[in-house]
Structures are given as structure tokens and as C-alpha cells.
Subunit: 127 residues, 2 copies
DNA sequence: TAAAGTCAACGAATATTTTCGTAATGAATA
DNA sequence: TATTCATTACGAAAATATTCGTTGACTTTA
């Protein structure tokens, strides 16, 4: 079983791009990131090298441009992060977490429907 | 309106003690923390001094032992943290957040009932 | 008043995260 | 082959977070 270390902010931002785009070169990732954060090429490269060492991504050393790929699944990382926040800030209470999540961000009716569905599925699973 | 900077891990651990115990001295906080983390007295003191500077806590400079108190409300801090996580890891999707939260931690029937209640209240508020 | 104890202040040391300058490599091309 | 271009490698610098040793102030008590 793999350990899934908690990625830093910068690492998570890179993972998000890889999850969304699939395997990408440093340049491709950097171009996406420079829109929001202003991260230079070597900065992004450095992080991706660190992430290879940590096992967060794999690198395909293709002839010219190396192609990187997320090694940790999105959902697993999300679970790690939300479990961490639950413990650190909510004393483990999922209901409190949801309460504050809804308080900061008005969910659309579609989101609410989705939440109800998740809840229903979860209850069925528990029976 | 106050800004509510995201507390670091160590700062959040101290805030949790203050939220739970109410106004406390450094020693009292340190005694609670050394059970879980092994934080020395001066370490805790240093953080609490930093937190005064950042405006996270206030200090009552009583005759002998200074008494510290959380200045940021628990719920506001929780909202800041969950909003941050929503953006950084869930593309803003509250339903995804809940899904993964339920996936990591089996909610008790009471928790589920609580969650349903929160959802119902929230829907009523939206109408 | 002296000694011992308690606590805060200060600053240094360490660790971690983030950023980027510069050099090296290898391919394409003039 | 020499030059240019795109990319990676290396390592240092800067920023931030964490930890703690030491000093000094004040209180109590012997």
C-alpha cells in the first residue's frame, strides 16, 4: 500500500493540471499555471523534479521533452486532504465540515441535488 | 471587516485549545498539547507571541501569568480553511468534498442525521 | 536579603517551501 | 561544423514555519 503524503500548495496546483490534462510536459503545465499564479518555467520544473523524488508523479524521459504524469489519483489525494482538515479543524465532524462549506459558498440547486444523492447512496451502502 | 489569515498547523492546534478551554495561559495550552504533539514550553510560547502579532489571539497581561484568548471565532476560521481547500483541491465542488469526506470516515447514523438536517435547513434558507 | 521557582522576551538554529539564475545537454539548422 | 533554440540539471537564495536555549524579570519563601 502506498503512502500518500500531503502535497504542498504548489504541488497540488501542478497535480490539478496533470489530473485535468493528463500526461504533460513542464512547458504545458507552466503555461496553464502562469495564467493564475505567475510561476516561471524553472520554478515549475523544480517542483516537478521534487515531485518525482517524492513519488507524486512519474516522468517519461522521452527523446526531447520529458512527459510527466500524476502518480497519485485525484480522489485519493482529495481524501488525504479532507481527512487532514477534518482532524485538524473540525474534531472529525463531517457535519460541521459540510455546514461551514455551505456557509462559505452558496451551492447551486444542482449541487444540492448532487449532495442529496451522495447522501442517499451512502445511506444505502451503510444498511 | 477583519481579514482572517489562514493559520499554520501549529497555530491551529493552539487555537483549538483556546476555543475549547477559553482564555488560557501558555502553560495550560502547553500541557494540553504535549499530550499529542510533543511541544516544549518555549515553542508554544513563541507561537502564541507570533499569534498576538498576527492578530489571531489577544493577550491579557495579568500580574503574573499572561492570559491568552482566541481572537478569531472558530466558525470563521473553519470557513476560511474549508473555502481554501474547496478551491485548491475540489474545483469548488462542495458535493465532491462531502463525497470524499464520507469516503474517509464512516459517519455515524447520528452524524448522517445531522447532515440531513443541515441540508434541509440550507434548502429552506434558499427558497 | 538570598535562594529558588515561574514565566516572558529574545534571538539563534533548523527545517521546509518557494523561487529562480546559470550552466549543461542535445537537437535543429544555417 | 558552428550557432541557435528548447529543454533539463544543479544549486543557491529567499521566504516561511518550527523549535528551543538562554537570559532576565518578578514572586515567593527560607
Amino acid at each position: 500500500m502506498e503512502k500518500s503524503p500531503k502535497p504542498t500548495d504548489a504541488e497540488l496546483a501542478i497535480l490539478r493540471v496533470l489530473w485535468q490534462r493528463g500526461p504533460s510536459t513542464v512547458k504545458q503545465v507552466q503555461q496553464v499555471l502562469e495564467a493564475t499564479k505567475k510561476a516561471g518555467y524553472t520554478t515549475v520544473l523544480k517542483f516537478m523534479q521534487i515531485m518525482v523524488e517524492k513519488g507524486l508523479v512519474t516522468r517519461d524521459e522521452s527523446p526531447f521533452a520529458h512527459v510527466y504524469q500524476a502518480r497519485v489519483p485525484r480522489e485519493q489525494t482529495q481524501r488525504t486532504l479532507v481527512a487532514d482538515l477534518l482532524e485538524r479543524a473540525f474534531e472529525g465532524s463531517t457535519s460541521r465540515l459540510l455546514l461551514q462549506a455551505l456557509a462559505t459558498k452558496k451551492a447551486t440547486p444542482e449541487e444540492l441535488a448532487e449532495i442529496r444523492k451522495i447522501l442517499k447512496n451512502h445511506e444505502r451502502g451503510i444498511q
